[in-house]
């Protein structure tokens, strides 16, 4: 299929337009159905969001702590944290490939970068959904930015710095492929020349391109650790909230971010493999590498969970113990144990495949979905129980149940992410065009 790029006369059938690789520009029926469903869900989410904007957050299940016995942060913040977490894997893998020159993993780089950019955009929309005054937020967060607030890290570093750097990174990579594809006269030629923006992939340009992406990758890695840590600090620095105040929050955030991100990347890679017919490039080696990485991160995360659990059950008293009780045996127990079981079963599945050296892509996809469900559960448990059960003054225990508005917005966000990836796949190669093509073309 790659030959079509350089030798348009070798297309399978005589058509007016040359065929682009990976089904780009070619809309299939399945794709249309998928996009229609995603659009419908996005529409529902938009309706819920606008309804909330007009009525106020009274239409959500969120309420004040204390006398109202509620939780001011709920699903929106849990998913904000989850989305930022997912972004971790993308850019990490893309940067690792570039820095250590892992050629066999190169087919993963583009979709990993895309996953990062899309999930960061979703995270910033989740923040807006959570704010009582979103429009004022966009202005004031920059106009009156206070670096002393842990939110500075989330808003300014994560959303602006990290998202911007990832966007540039994704663009630089896409530009090369767009330049190659712009040589064909297709309906998308205009778009591809626009994206290429004068880049023509000559050896000198490619050399400069390689250097620029290498240094950008090097710069993104520390930014990534800082960004994910500051999100942990949003919770970890609060002495007045039992269950949050912990030095483990920041490192645990980074590791769980890796688990959920790699899990989702496995799912995305499997989808691309079958949809774009990339069985040769996204081979078993790539999935085995992801599986091993996921196993290591899952072990590290379970270690953090165990450490936290020992500290809070052995040493804690008072309200700290109340929060732990609510999570371990109380109303939140099903989420905690459900997530933990999903993690342990996933780890068992990964270790079995690791030891037998036989990697099954279907099983890996199931594991990828399982660890993501577990990660969502854990994010919820970080955010909510410390609000409902963690008041230091003798208030009654609170409760929080999300409403359809919150579910609607969150589902809409997930659908928006899927939609963005689906559209991207039809415009720019989601798997980097292989080296041979480059060589032929130049």
């Amino acid at each position: 299929m790659t030959t079509a790029v350089t030798q348009p006369d070798m297309t399978r059938e005589e058509v007016d337009l040359p065929t682009l690789p990976q089904g780009i520009g070619h809309l299939t029926r399945g794709w249309g159905v998928f996009v229609a469903i995603a659009l419908a869900v996005v529409g529902f989410g938009t309706y819920a969001f606008m309804y909330q904007q007009s009525e106020g957050e009274i239409v959500t299940g969120l309420r004040n702590v204390g006398t109202m016995g509620g939780a001011p942060w709920g699903l929106y913040v849990a998913f904000l944290v989850y989305f930022v977490g997912v972004s971790f894997a993308g850019i990490t893998i893309a940067a690792l490939i570039r820095l250590f020159n892992l050629q066999a993993l190169r087919p993963l780089a583009r979709m990993a970068e895309l996953l990062t950019v899309v999930s960061l955009v979703l995270a910033s929309i989740a923040i807006l959904a959570d704010l009582g005054q979103p429009l004022r937020g966009i202005v004031n967060l920059f106009r009156y930015a206070r670096p002393q607030s842990p939110f500075f890290g989330t808003f300014v570093l994560v959303i602006s710095g990290y998202l911007f750097a990832s966007l540039v990174y994704l663009y630089l990579g896409s530009r090369r492929d767009a330049a190659i594809m712009a040589r064909e006269s297709t309906r998308l030629q205009g778009l591809h020349s626009f994206v290429a923006a004068g880049y023509t992939d000559t050896p000198a340009e490619r050399d400069r391109h390689e250097r620029a992406t290498f240094w950008l990758a090097l710069a993104i890695l520390p930014m990534l650790i800082v960004a994910h840590s500051t999100l942990g600090f949003v919770f970890g620095l609060q002495i007045g909230r039992p269950g949050w105040f912990s030095a483990l929050q920041a490192p645990a955030f980074v590791v769980l971010a890796g688990v959920s991100g790699i899990g989702l990347l496995i799912v995305l890679a499997a989808v691309v493999r079958s949809v774009c017919d990339e069985r040769d490039t996204l081979d078993e080696y790539v999935f085995a590498w992801l599986g091993r990485f996921l196993a290591v991160l899952t072990i590290a995360y379970l270690y953090f969970v165990l450490t936290e659990l020992l500290t809070s059950t052995y040493a804690a008293g008072g309200r700290e113990a109340d929060v732990t009780d609510a999570i371990l045996t109380g109303r939140y127990a099903w989420i905690f144990w459900g997530s933990t079981i999903l993690f342990v079963v996933s780890l068992a599945g990964l270790l079995t495949q690791l030891l037998t050296k036989r990697w099954n892509i279907g099983t890996l996809v199931a594991i990828g979905i399982a660890v993501n469900l577990a990660a969502i559960g854990k994010r919820f448990l970080i955010v909510v129980p410390s609000q409902t059960d963690g008041m230091l003054l003798p208030y009654e225990t609170g409760s929080y149940t999300p409403t359809w508005v919150e579910y609607g917005v969150v589902l809409g966000l997930i659908a928006l992410g899927a939609l963005a990836i689906a559209v991207f796949m039809k415009l720019i190669p989601i798997v980097e065009l292989p080296e041979e093509v480059e060589a032929d073309a130049s």
Binding site: G66, G137, Y144, G240
Partner: protein, 247 residues
């Protein structure tokens, strides 16, 4: 220099909650919002039970966790000790509410004009009010206050922003006492300048044993409790105000 401090005399407080009522009227706070709240607490098992009361205004901490976390500087500490919310700048992220260990922050979940007390759509009431909008906010308070000239007083209940006790900044600035202090029928609440050691409030604190709520967190509250003890882990709340907001 003036540094305002509130003193709560727990030996005098009888838990009548008149201060809560006074606060609501003075600041026109909406449904389910209690800038001042009085815990009615019970400890022990029948027949050896003991009831205590604990008024809880905003503690106006000198090392306020809510001020530290505000991403836009809407929550700020004034020279005179007051911790205030600029409702014109607040973006409604509610981080202050979660940083505060005392639970004194109230978010405007809905439209304030819909969240006030009473069935104002009732035709009988409409006949009396002439269809006029009942007082869910006081336009007299919706003006800038203090040297910084910021919108902080009780006049502004706006959808999607945070609010809390202001120590009645609009009254204090013209030399009057906060509404809760004036209303208390047994003078359990005192208010004044503690920067000068010879004011009545300074002397009262000096002459009595006192504590501050959750002092161990290092928040350095400007509300001082005299008489009684900090609430123990054993107390539970009775006759609590089940007040939420519904759409």
């Amino acid at each position: 220099m003036t540094k305002y401090t509130m003193v709560v005399d727990l030996d005098r407080c009888q838990g009548c909650r008149a201060c809560m009522e006074a606060c609501k009227i003075e600041n026109n706070t909406t449904e389910g919002v209690f800038w001042m709240y009085v815990f009615r607490l019970e400890e022990g098992e029948y027949p050896n039970t003991q009831q205590t009361y604990l008024p809880r205004p905003c503690q106006h901490c000198d090392n306020a966790p809510c001020v530290k976390v505000c991403p836009v500087g809407a929550r700020y500490k004034r020279e005179d000790g007051l911790v205030l919310t600029d409702f014109d700048r607040c973006i409604g992220c509610r981080y202050c509410e979660l940083a505060c260990p005392y639970g004194v922050n109230y978010f405007n979940w809905g439209k304030p004009e819909k969240q006030h007390y009473g069935e104002w759509d009732d035709p009988d009431l409409q006949a009396v009010t002439g269809g006029a909008n009942p007082p869910w906010s006081n336009p007299d308070l919706a003006r800038p206050h203090g040297d910084e000239q910021r919108m902080v007083a009780g006049g502004g209940h706006h959808k999607g922003v945070m609010e809390k006790c202001t120590f009645c900044v609009h009254l204090v600035e013209r030399g009057e006492l906060p509404a809760c202090v004036v209303t208390c029928p047994v003078q359990a609440l005192r208010f004044g300048n503690t920067d000068d050691p010879e004011t009545p409030v300074s002397r009262f604190i000096r002459e009595h044993g006192h504590f501050r709520l959750l002092d161990e967190l290092g928040t350095e509250p400007r509300v001082v409790y005299v008489g009684g003890q900090p609430p123990s882990d054993e107390v539970h709340e009775i006759e609590l105000v089940h007040a939420g907001v519904e759409r």
